[in-house]
Subunit: 635 residues, 2 copies
């Protein structure tokens, strides 16, 4: 226990930390420039205003096919008194051809008649008619682009037209990224007990690129003061900015902050934000050096708050990288006045409003960042938001994608992944998003208007009927049931069934470590129903209170010897290479309000259920039958 | 005149052409895939769903610093009856360390006391407390990303954590781009009479990249049927798509359509859109081949309508590349029922509404695409929109940039370019946009609420005073005048003044070709005032009716021998290397409603006028003085 524990004696609010650090950096930072080929300049930022070298058109040019003339020669022409122009009085021109003095007008081809004596015209020409004067589009010397402008494809075209081949642009800041930690390993290394795969640095590298810099990821450094100090110090000389990423061990942050204190000045250590408190903001020999926390979500939030604005400042980029949308939060969120909090949310558009459903709040859950569509930010001055309240969500998925997504909340099954995979492949720009809260949780979310449909498998003890009795009991509005699959539930045990479990009765007694599903999950309802049928007291099950949220989480617990048995579907057991003791089939269907049935993405969802492609895929998973899949029962 | 003219016998509506072509292409197109390193996969699109290879955490891991114990060993512990754990009953762990059986709980460091006999605890531990179970974040076998998903930095982190090092992604479609035309030259070639610098292909190349493909630009092909045919035919075999860009000559399109008819099938020739009618949509040996018009604006619109959706289809990209905003159109736009029309607009946010001001409608004006912020699209079924009507604008500049832009409409001066250059350099994310309609036009726009300020130089004939009398006459709301510069107006003539012009009187008589400014321009007001003073009849000026919109356009006309003389400011004469006969100084100021004065970007504008940096820059231009610049006169 002898390790030194580093406590944050005080943290400062996010906005204060940002203001303090950005103003310090902006006073020392050196924006760099470089000269590059215009053809390679897409998305780069102009260093200074660019002025046209040539005019466009380069010369007075005919705007029509016809003849170039001297307007004065034509002034007498009328319908009754035509004028004949001799060969030396006109020049045949096509659109774009140059017009030279003494010619100062163009007559369209359809307005002339060729005769033996010359060309006959029956109307006078005004001087400069049908001529695009030199510089009509661009005048030499005129400003084409201002400074700090992000170059678009059209700009490249115009720059070249104006004779500009090279352009001065802002040099992308070069950012060194150091992963640190003795227990971290490279993603391709062999896994040993206690290994943690290093992946934050690769996320950072790409976040640097998105913000407008160039990320350079270095190999991991072990937890060694001198090594960290020497490498960071060297990188400060060769890069514009340095990021040090703590390993996951608590000791690592110590090194980083002490190293940065030795090398330069630490302006901020610890920010009042959750997740993401252990941020270090330093300046070393005129360069920004930032220490970011090890947990992926904390690392992401720390990066967005402090690294992105510094890179944008150095790259002279101004664009907002996230879109904001107003949404109704689906449940109450309590937050402390001690920090600003970023809560990951899934966002869906149900009816005419956006709904945001909070996800796990743990800092370690990187996958929840992938699953999430954005953040609900709760300011430090707020104690939280009430269910149904309107909140602003910072999106990191595109708004149009969210608007075309089927929002599913309810029981989890692997077939949802299959549908989510098929959907965007077969239906352009349509997506499926699912949140797993169990069958009852799904019906409640549906009732509150937070989802388009709820996947459920709820056995009615009285009638023995699945799903329909629950929907009838809970809803007043017209509802439909989209038939899904029959699937086999069973007890998942380790390969070879070492404890010789034969059925539910064997789970009682306390020797077998069971892992259960959460209250409201259909699998829990089924388990309780079977316990009752067999007169088993839940108290006699060791682990009855240990709850997991999905079949796969239960399967993983058994596979890793965290438990001896758990109930779930065959596909999950197969995915984790477990043995499976069949308990019985059940009906896994989708409850949906009738009003949503005609939405294009709901129709697409139903078509997928009915398709042979879907049936082939779930046959591979095993334990399913899908004869009625996609049938609709109105109620 | 013998060239064959190719007329479009009929055009078809844009949506019909798009539907016809996209459905034909979608039935033959072959989406390709490739396997790449996950670390290189940013912004690529997944070919299929990706499933986790490893769980994360990889093992049951401690969530705290403390000791790992067997929960059963602790069950008797209470405050009054502590339990002492022997050395073989616990393992010291840090956050992230693995937990092995028989340990099944973690007690936090702060809840234990080390004693000589062992570790003392005063509360029992629940099994699995403070343990992150294996797979809490990601379960091996679980879907991480669905198919057709655009990969973000966070996805890269999670993929690596889950043991995925390589990923199957959609291959970017390879697009061959052929510029054609005998008169076109490379941007670095020597310019000859009639040369047109080829730049469309470079715009296309970058538009291909933005849409998700890889553009390959080939050297220009001269107008030769066989050469075009052979090169296009070869490219069809080696690329996924081919673009043929007509030169600017009318004859070229002939070749393209005939070549494509010989090589494959032309589905559409001519689309009812303005600009951009001469589009050719063909399929050659199973590959899309598109002929685009030569004028840059037509080319751009043709690309966005027909090339972008095909590339997105092949690249499986779904994002909308432009943002749409609702704006009030500043003037009436009449459009024909014969076509859908794309009108370039400048968009500004004045007060709480967006205002869109139409720009030039000519197809040749590429610079207007650079100056514009978006398109107002008038559907074929509409005859146009009325001034003030709400319209949807497809933006191609970011909305936040537009919201932070000072909207200036009025008289043109080169100092506006200088301010537009300084602004975003000194003030992060603030911009200046100016539209040149002359002083009176600017005041009218200001009155209609379409601009923040109007630059004007209007001499009141009665009082001899500049600007203030006009503002007082026109406005009822509280107005201010921001003082700008004194500048010298004069007559611009060719270098060496070959016609010996000494003053305005010399312009009369008809021998000297004059070029004038448009009605309502301050320079025109000044010219008319001087003609009146000297009793000169405007009818006696050759070219009095020939109007140009800016000082630079007038200077360019004189420089290119399109005219002998024109009135303008010294900076324009210097920019075009002309001689300058001084007429007199005038006051160029900014009219602004008082209500806008406190906006941050208006304040920034005023600060720039007052700055020494600005004064140094305009001194270089010549012909200005700026003693009072930035002073504010309230009226």
């Amino acid at each position: 226990m002898g390790k030194k524990r580093n406590l944050y004696l005080q943290t400062i609010p996010v906005e204060e930390a940002k203001e303090k650090y950005l103003s310090a950096v902006s006073s020392i930072v050196d924006v760099k420039y470089e000269t590059i080929d215009v053809t390679q300049s897409l998305d780069r930022v102009t260093a200074k205003a660019v002025y046209a070298k040539y005019s466009s058109p380069l010369f007075n040019a005919s705007a029509m096919d016809g003849i170039a003339v001297k307007a004065a020669d034509t002034s007498a022409a009328t319908e009754t008194n035509p004028v004949i122009l001799r060969e030396d009085q006109y020049v045949i021109v096509d659109t774009g051809d140059p017009i030279h003095p003494p010619c100062d007008a163009v007559i369209m081809a359809e307005d002339i008649v060729e005769t033996e004596e010359g060309v006959k015209i029956i109307a006078s020409a005004n001087s400069w008619q049908h001529i695009r004067p030199i510089g009509e589009d661009i005048v030499a010397g005129e400003m084409i682009l201002p400074s700090s402008h992000k170059i678009r494809p059209i700009d490249i075209g115009v720059l070249l037209s104006a004779g500009i081949l090279k352009i001065d642009v802002v040099k992308k800041p070069e950012v060194a990224i150091f992963p640190t930690g003795t227990e971290i390993i490279e993603p391709d290394a062999e896994i040993e007990d206690g290994s943690i795969i290093e992946s934050n640095s690769r996320m950072f590298e790409n976040m640097v690129n998105v913000a407008g810099g160039t990320g350079h990821r270095f190999p991991p450094i072990i937890d060694d003061y001198e090594q960290i100090r020497d490498q960071v110090s060297a990188a400060v000389d060769t890069h514009d900015m340095v990021i040090v990423n703590a390993g996951s061990s608590a000791g690592t942050e110590d090194f980083t902050v002490h190293v940065l204190r030795e090398l330069g000045e630490v302006l901020v250590h610890g920010v009042a934000v959750k997740p993401g408190k252990p941020v270090i903001l330093a300046i070393v020999r005129g360069k920004p050096v930032i220490g970011l926390p090890g947990y992926p979500v904390s690392a992401y939030i720390g990066f967005e708050n402090f690294v992105t604005p510094i890179i944008q400042m150095m790259a002279k980029r101004t664009e907002k990288l996230t879109e904001t949308v107003e949404a109704h939060i689906s449940k109450r969120l309590v937050s402390s006045l001690k920090h600003k909090e970023y809560v990951r949310v899934k966002v869906g558009k149900v009816g005419d409003k956006f709904v945001a459903a909070p996800l796990a709040r743990g800092a370690g859950a990187a996958m929840s960042l992938v699953r999430a569509d954005g953040f609900c930010v709760i300011e430090q001055s707020s104690e939280g938001v009430e269910a149904g309240e309107k909140v602003n969500i910072d999106l990191y998925r595109s708004r149009s994608e969210i608007e075309n997504t089927v929002v599913i909340i309810g029981s989890h099954d692997l077939i949802l992944d299959v549908i989510a995979d098929i959907m965007p492949n077969r239906y352009r720009n349509m997506f499926v998003s699912s949140t797993h809260v169990g069958s009852m949780g799904g019906l409640m979310a549906l009732k509150r208007g937070e989802a388009h449909m709820a996947p459920i498998h709820l056995l009615d003890e009285e009638t023995g009927e699945y799903n329909i009795p629950y929907i009838k009991k809970l809803f007043r509005e017209p509802m439909a049931l989209i038939k899904g699959v029959h699937r086999i539930q069973g007890i998942m045990v380790k390969k070879g069934n070492p404890l010789g479990i034969k059925g539910i009765a064997d789970l009682a007694g306390g020797d077998i470590r069971y892992v259960n599903r959460q209250r409201g999950a259909g699998t829990r309802v089924l388990f309780d129903y079977r316990l009752k049928q067999e007169n088993i007291d839940p108290e006699s099950i060791n682990g009855y209170d240990r709850e997991m949220a999905t079949h796969m989480a239960v399967a993983a617990a058994v596979a890793s010897d965290g438990a001896d048995a758990g109930m779930g579907v065959l596909s999950a057991a197969k995915a984790m290479n477990l043995d499976f003791i069949e308990v019985g089939p059940e009906e896994y269907d989708f409850a949906v309000p009738v009003k949503h049935l005609e939405l294009p993405h709901i129709r697409a969802f139903i078509e997928i259920l009915q398709s042979s492609g879907f049936r082939d895929r779930i046959e591979e998973l095993g334990g399913y039958s899908a004869e009625n899949a996609g049938n609709i029962i109105m109620m």
